[in-house]
């Protein structure tokens, strides 16, 4: 019996029980589609992170208080505006180009009765925009004078701009944040997503105004440092570190109460998180594929039981064990392969949509892998029922009613 005949026979058997086969195929379909789609999501978010690394440039450092480190409790080691001035000292830190203090919090912004909760309401100086590679799409940024004069002006990201103004030009309009009125002076350009949070859900205002009106005069959340060039980042990092130690009177060794991380290090950390996330998703998807496989075993057991008499007849006609084994294995494999192919189609269709804020990127390898795995599943999960069918004694099979 040739392979083509075996496949034709298997197809006929699959078509004979349309609903049953359809449901079994659905199990594999969901599993395969989930595996391809979720790895595509992971792949897409990794690509987006890569892109934002390129966007940010590798010349930015972030200084943040490290809450994990204990540090001497009697000392005040929080980040302050003083540190910004110290870092701006070109003698102590010659490789630092600019420094931007950052206070950030989630705030509800209101415009004529429309509320929008901005994930990052940032108070900073104009240096922030160049450090994060943000640019102004419309209007203008606030200036150093705005910072000094505590002017209540704000630059909106794309998300709050559309949510609050719905097509109306926001520049020149007023929004209320925490009871204080801010005037919109500019709009930020759209930014690519990294898969976690919306990077466009920001509003940027002078730090002085934000501290005065919204957050209060607490410590800074971050200090952004831009190095003079990409290849001086490491030097700038150690200079910043020593300036901070100096200013905060810290011992030279042991845990530091702050961390100085380059932007690429930060993103690498996020990249790791994304990868862990992807692996976790893929594991869940693989589990559903496994469940689909068990479905195949189940349905093949039913098929074998149902066709016991047929198996008996085939044996009486001289079907060798191997032929029967092949017949039922082929049937199981055809089932799972149909599921696999439909799963690939479903995944390709699904990847056209944005999922969790990520454009999924299907890796061609994952399609080949998913199809290979679905064949393997058919063979593996079909092998027990098939060997049961092949191993039946002809006399028992013929007597079965």
């Amino acid at each position: 019996m040739t392979t083509i005949e075996a496949i034709r026979l298997a197809l006929r058997a699959v078509v004979a029980n349309k609903l049953r086969s359809g449901l079994t195929v659905l199990g594999i379909l969901i599993g395969v589609a989930a595996v391809i789609l979720l790895t595509a999501v992971g792949n897409g978010s990794a690509k987006a992170i890569q892109q934002s690394i390129e966007q940010l440039g590798s010349d930015t450092l972030t200084i943040a208080a490290d809450t994990r480190a204990g540090g001497p409790a009697i000392q005040n080691t929080s980040l302050t505006i003083d540190l910004v001035d110290a870092l701006n000292n070109r003698d102590a830190a010659p490789d630092v180009k600019s420094v931007a203090p950052v206070v950030t919090s989630a705030q509800t912004v209101n415009h004529e009765g429309t509320d929008h909760s901005v994930a990052q309401f940032i108070g900073t100086t104009p240096a922030y925009l160049s450090a994060t590679n943000d640019s102004i799409a419309r209007g203008s940024s606030f200036t150093a004078d705005d910072v000094t004069d505590r002017r209540r002006v704000v630059v909106l990201g794309a998300t709050p701009a559309t949510k609050l103004f719905r097509g109306v030009d926001p520049v020149g309009k007023q929004v209320t944040v925490g009871g204080t009125v801010f005037t919109v002076v500019g709009l930020l350009s759209q930014k690519g997503g990294t898969g976690f949070g919306d990077p466009n859900d920001v509003a940027i205002a002078p730090i002085t105004a934000v501290q005065e009106a919204v957050t209060g005069f607490g410590p800074l959340n971050q200090i952004l440092v831009k190095a003079v060039s990409g290849d001086r980042v490491t030097a700038a990092q150690s200079q910043a570190q020593s300036v901070l130690k100096d200013k905060l009177h810290l011992p030279g060794t042991g845990n530091q109460p702050f961390r100085v991380l380059s932007q690429s290090q930060l993103l690498a950390a996020r990249d790791d998180t994304a990868r862990t996330f992807t692996v976790l998703l893929a594991a869940v998807a693989a589990l559903s594929l496994l469940v689909g496989g068990v479905g195949i075993t189940n349905i093949m057991m039913v098929t074998v039981t149902e066709r016991t008499r047929e198996i008996g007849i085939r044996k009486a006609l001289g079907a060798p064990k191997r032929t029967l084994l092949t017949q039922f294995l082929t049937e199981a494999t055809v089932l799972s392969l149909i599921g696999g192919l439909l799963g690939v189609v479903a995944a390709i269709v699904g990847s056209q949509f944005t999922i969790l804020g990520v454009d999924p990127q299907i890796a061609p390898g994952s399609i080949a892998l998913a199809l290979g795995v679905s064949v393997a599943i058919g063979l593996f999960f079909g092998s027990y029922p098939a060997s049961r069918a092949a191993g039946l004694r002809p006399i028992d099979a013929l007597r079965y009613e």
């Binding site: 019996m1 040739t2 005949e5 006929r12 004979a16 008499r309 047929e310 007849i313 085939r314 044996k315 009486a316 006609l317 001289g318 079907a319 060798p320 064990k321 032929t323 002809p394 006399i395 013929l398």
Partner: protein, 257 residues
């Protein structure tokens, strides 16, 4: 294939028991039988007499508990699974009581099946299967599915399938058991013709009048052969051509089936 001096079936003192201890049942208790090439043998017996057990052993579907069975001069108890499958495929043709065709598969493919298991090329086996269908008078139904045929036609297809490999032995287990009068006649006629062409046929039945088609009659009672003789014709009015019910006289109404 096999040297002609061997009998097709040579069984010595076949014993088959089921279960063990107190519950042991002796289905066959010492059956000896020899069937020569070209014979037309009927095995008769009431249900429980062991005739189906005997047929299963003769057909290599089951193995005897003790005794010796040579098919075409080969002791089948020495064969392994694969060789047994080959023996069933090449040397034995089965016709079962229930029609035993494979559903949703064309008549032609059904008849081709044993040839396919023998590894014959598609074109050759199609040609041989068609010839077998011609010999049972169903050449025009080759592309039908079993469910489209009547019981008698299905059973004739089963006969065609049994003879397509040109086996040494055709084993028919109650081939007319599920058929009405007319269809029984058709099937038995096909078997008669096959025997005339030189095929060895073993027919298992509980019906005296079906057995009349054979030339030799073996009667089993309680797992033993009680008589082994040439067929004695029944009295004329009881002559029967595959019917299960008494022949109705021409001037009486036929009892509905």
């Amino acid at each position: 294939m096999s040297a002609p001096e061997y009998p097709v079936i040579e069984a010595h003192d076949l014993v088959k028991t089921y279960g063990n201890g107190e519950t042991m049942v002796r289905a066959l208790s010492g059956v000896s039988l020899s069937v020569q090439r070209g014979e037309y043998l009927a095995i008769m017996g009431a249900s429980g007499s062991g005739k189906t057990t005997l047929m299963n052993i003769l057909g290599c579907l089951d193995v005897q508990t003790s005794g010796r069975y040579l098919l075409d001069g080969v002791d089948v108890s020495t064969l392994d699974d694969r060789q047994l499958a080959r023996v069933r495929n090449r040397r034995i043709g089965f016709v079962f009581q229930t029609f035993s065709l494979i559903a949703r598969t064309s008549i032609l493919s059904n008849v081709e099946l044993p040839l396919a298991y023998a590894g014959m090329k598609a074109a050759d086996r199609r040609r041989r299967a068609r010839r077998a269908l011609v010999s049972v008078g169903l050449a025009d139904r080759a592309d039908c599915e079993p469910s489209q045929l009547s019981g008698g036609q299905q059973q004739r297809v089963a006969v065609a399938r049994a003879l397509v490999t040109a086996p040494a032995l055709v084993l028919a287990d109650e081939p007319t058991g599920n058929l009405d009068t007319r269809a029984s006649g058709d099937v038995l006629e096909v078997l008669d013709r096959l025997n005339q062409l030189g095929r060895t046929i073993v027919l298992i039945t509980h019906d005296q009048r079906v057995a009349q088609h054979a030339k030799r009659l073996v009667e089993l009672v309680d797992g033993r052969v009680v008589s082994d003789d040439a067929i004695k014709p029944l009295p004329r009015e009881e002559r029967y051509y595959g019917r299960h019910r008494p022949v109705t006289l021409r001037d009486t109404e036929a009892v509905s089936a």
